[in-house]
Symmetry: D2
Subunit: 365 residues, 4 copies
């Protein structure tokens, strides 16, 4: 398959550019008979939408989704679901001065060399705007997983630039523009205000969790559940690192500590992050992402133009000073898409499996 | 595709179990006309082979590879290359006591629930032994990349348990059993000896690098080069984290620091790790892996059996107290496989691209 | 991959229903830099369009295509090309009486049993209307093949119901509504008029040809060029048979006759239809299709309803009395899509191949 | 995926050359828990085996299969099943004189131009010998389909060269070397004897049938069940045509005749061959194949060598004068592989479908 499709059975093919007529996706392989309308999808799109606080890009996009196919009388038919989002607020003139020069840390340089031409308007295909169709598709997967298994997807920010964010509770996440699991975000607002004044940008760390995941999703190799999650997450714009469970902290752990003990009531801990041997354990799936600082900043940087001549580049346009701020709903969507795909793959191969004996323990709470 | 194949055009399908008759793989899509014989492959297999020092499993496997197809008079024909490695030293009795109980941190539990049965001999399909065919396939990819682009793959250990390993130079890596880039490994040998006595295991951190990579490999989304690398690496047994370039350190960096400046002579730094917007920049590709401690240890751990009853598990058998020790050649192979696949994908789509103007800068040395 | 995508590298994902808001497709993997605008695509859509003669359905659809992505300043960018065709003339009330009963020879019955529900309006997903996006995608492939290799795609009708159509010349095909290679179609018009009066339908036989195809496209097995052509053609609505070259006539031929002799100037004949061993020979590719009679007819037929009760079914609505009439441009498109995909696959693997010696003979004319 | 893999979920990757060390395949995605041993596979291999009558090649190959992986204590584990068949009787000197010249009607010419080199021994990869691994894999699929749904696969020869073979009954097929459904094959033996004396070869027509197929397997487009069957069959060596149900005879049928009436007890006829709208109807699946005459014959034919110089070619070696004779078990295997794959795909997407009402009629007998 060419590169714009995610999934083997629940397949999402993404299309569009930041300042083209429209963006969207085609979801192929959705089970039939599920109730679905645009409102089911719009909710997550609104969480990701630009222009909702002063800390994100001020581009004004309603991101209204239209279902073009695959739904009849409010139910999925099992045929492809095409989703369309028209672009509304394109100010392409903002980008004219960077058509011939490469922003440091940006895809300008690599697109130019790969394709020989590029759509420079708003970053074209490399824009974070292209995560909107992913979020839309993720909503369909989330709904199916919730109705079928009771699976819940959640994400929050755990670090903003240099500032670690303590975990106070999931209930705070929807109450602030940072998707931060804390009651008071004044400190993070001040940090972002200072950053904007400095004409600079910062990174973020995001935690994603799925609870209520059936045991046994995944494959021994190469398509481990962890591998496909890593693929999906590293495919999100600006991600530079992915961890499952204890991640890099596992390096310094002993086996006698890291290996989660099993008890009749369930696992005693979750260092593994919900996966063993490439398969889900039934515990919460825990994933962490590192998101780099936005490359489009006002601070002038040394670079070259398409002729190889030295130039200085500073990016005006409208950009997120921290792309990580809106990453939480996107990471949820990506995790949902991978789990949905593996749930279908699993029942294709193993629908007839009956374990000889024994209960299936989940998390111990 | 079912889960045991890696790659879209240069496809490796892996088969086998730790104590079955044989392990191996089929490589489909190799370009024709490349000189290839078993010795080209054996070299890397020998680097990964068990039993080469007291710090790894004492299982005695020659890992001799037989080329069954796809090579005629010493050259690849373009048809599938099947590689076969017979298993020799199976002591399956070592494992009899764990057939009905689940090792904490091991795939026993998840395999049992997914498939309803499992091959418990030596971990069956979940054994690190199954990385041997990956290494064999990687040797073919490395050879092609080297001959075509001069690409060089290298890997080393950068942390052993709690001990960070300083980087003194690539020349040391082949000289010691840890793949450590240092002249003196006495400290790490002592650490491992202590660990074995404690009947415990530890994790490791591995760095993988590719130099001489063409610019433009990858796709904007979802099949970014970084995404496919993350997939391949997270698919390696025991890996819990993957970083590209500065990885998780990027979170606390400013955009004015992280974005690598471009100069007529090349990039001024490599925070990006050789990829921007999902495409290779032509700089060195830099990847880091977190490998968890081995789950099979002699220290008794609480667990349950297949009836859900509480039991104690301690694993005899022959195991690597640190599976990370032999991970370096495997990580090289995985990176080579991903690069090879993307090199073929790239020329399929973009073989006619001629950039308007301008040189292609590489690393500044 | 789920079932709505055709191709491995040049991938077309089709979406839509006959009476939904829109139909369309996403083309992924198109090489960058090719000049492309909507007019390039509209021409073939107009050839397939309904309502252009009294012998086809009178549904009035302009089939105007909108390019949503993948083209910038008139050139393909290498990113997904999304094509959108809004449905205009839906008279869904025509179909109300068949929502609960199954038309003999129609997909009603199988969709109902597979999905548990179906969109009955105009046949929903099973409508021949869904060939429009295929034709649109085919236009992009045709343009690339023509510019790159000089490949020409042509199709004509060679039998209408019981009437074989002699081959007088390709120049007649565009001049009549039957895509018939003859100057005078009065006989076929009379046949169709009689058929309509009889409230019945008939089948057709279509010939498709590609000339100017490079030698060596395809794979030894399983993805032979012939296999992928057969897949694409048998996937066209109502097709019940596919032949390559002499097809079923080969059964009664001797090897001394069938095997096309090679001469320094080229092949002396083309019984093979342009393929040997799954690979293109450089000769004209020749394919024949059998298209069954339309199942939606006014003549009442015995059937059952969704409760299993006997009913009589006669279909009003607007239908093609011979779906084969509009099949010629669709068959061209399908052949172009397969050739384009294999051209990209071929250069991915074999771009470095240099034959030792010797010319490449084509057709002898 | 590269070209040597058949199937999306039940994937068969084929490897080997006629005179290399071994041929075989890897089956990935087999459901776990099915009883399987080598004898289950050997039976079909023996039906396809060369040297069993004077009418087929006299090459002496036991075709003994070894299961290398994926089976533990007599049951499939859900992991890849690798099957190995060692080549025994290679007389490569027989082929020396054709290494530099191209047999008319053979893959010599196209392989040479695609790959720049080829393994000429016994036809290398293009040999019909490579159908053995397909037959082996098909046995696994047949067993699962039989145990799960009661599906039965059968094939017979319906025409030998110019001689149509009447259908007297399936019970005769196993009793004669032609897989002919007649009691007395004296006429066909005489025909073959005459052909051998004439140093020539002939084609054949094969009928394949599956009964006991569940309703609803397939997809609307492009991956119709008919499309995937056509792909698989046209991928068999020497096949030049594929028909589903009435095939090319449908062209001259009226819709009022072709459309199979539905009755409460089942379908009244089976012109469709068991598929409507790309999905199985639950009726018998009926497929017909045209197989061309063998290209390797003793009669001298004009050709060219690799330098483009005119030569005469006559092929000694050991060849089937009619490759169609051994095609019946291969065609069964291919149909089984496609049905198995679609059975898994179907339950992945539609496992939760409950039809509102109504029985599922099958064939009316």
């Amino acid at each position: 398959m060419s590169g714009s499709t995610l999934g083997t059975l629940f397949c999402v093919t993404n299309f569009g550019e930041s300042h083209g007529p429209a963006i969207g996706c085609v979801i192929d392989g959705c089970p039939p008979g599920m109730a679905l309308d645009a409102a089911d999808i719009q909710h997550d799109l609104d969480r990701r939408r630009p222009g909702t606080s002063r800390h994100v890009t001020q581009r004004n996009e309603p991101d209204a989704v239209e279902i073009l196919s695959g739904v009849y009388e409010g139910r999925t038919t099992g045929t492809p679901i095409a989703l369309l989002i028209r672009n509304q607020d394109q100010r392409s003139k903002d980008y004219g001065d960077i058509a011939l020069r490469f922003r440091p840390g940006h895809a300008d340089y690599t697109y130019w060399h790969k394709y020989g031409l590029r759509d420079p308007r708003g970053g074209g295909r490399s824009s974070a705007r292209l995560t909107a169709p992913t979020v839309a598709a993720g909503s369909v997967a989330k709904k199916w997983l919730r109705e079928k298994f009771g699976t819940q997807l959640r994400a929050c920010m755990t670090q903003l630039g240099e500032l670690p964010i303590p975990f106070e509770g999931w209930e705070h996440v929807a109450q602030n523009p940072f998707f931060a699991p804390v009651a008071d975000v004044a400190r993070y607002e001040a940090y972002m205000d200072e950053l904007r004044k400095a004409h600079d940008s910062c990174g973020a760390r995001i935690r994603v969790q799925a609870s209520g995941v059936p045991v046994g999703l995944g494959a021994p190799l190469y398509d481990k559940l962890d591998a496909d999650i890593a693929y999906a997450m590293m495919g999100l714009n600006a991600v530079k690192g992915v961890e499952i469970g204890d991640g890099f902290a596992s390096v310094a752990q002993r086996g006698s500590v890291h290996g989660d003990a099993l008890m009749p009531q369930g696992f005693a801990s979750n260092h593994a992050g919900g996966m063993l041997g490439g398969l889900s354990t039934g515990q919460d799936i825990e994933v962490s992402l590192a998101i780099k600082p936005t490359s489009s900043i006002l601070t002038p940087r040394p670079s070259i133009d398409i002729h190889g001549e030295p130039v200085e580049v500073s990016t005006r346009g409208r950009h997120d000073p921290c792309v990580g701020i809106r990453a939480a709903p996107i990471a949820e969507a990506l995790l949902a898409l991978v789990l949905m795909d593996h749930a279908l793959l699993h029942r294709a191969q193993c629908a007839d499996v009956r374990q000889a004996v024994g209960p299936i323990p989940g998390n111990m709470d």
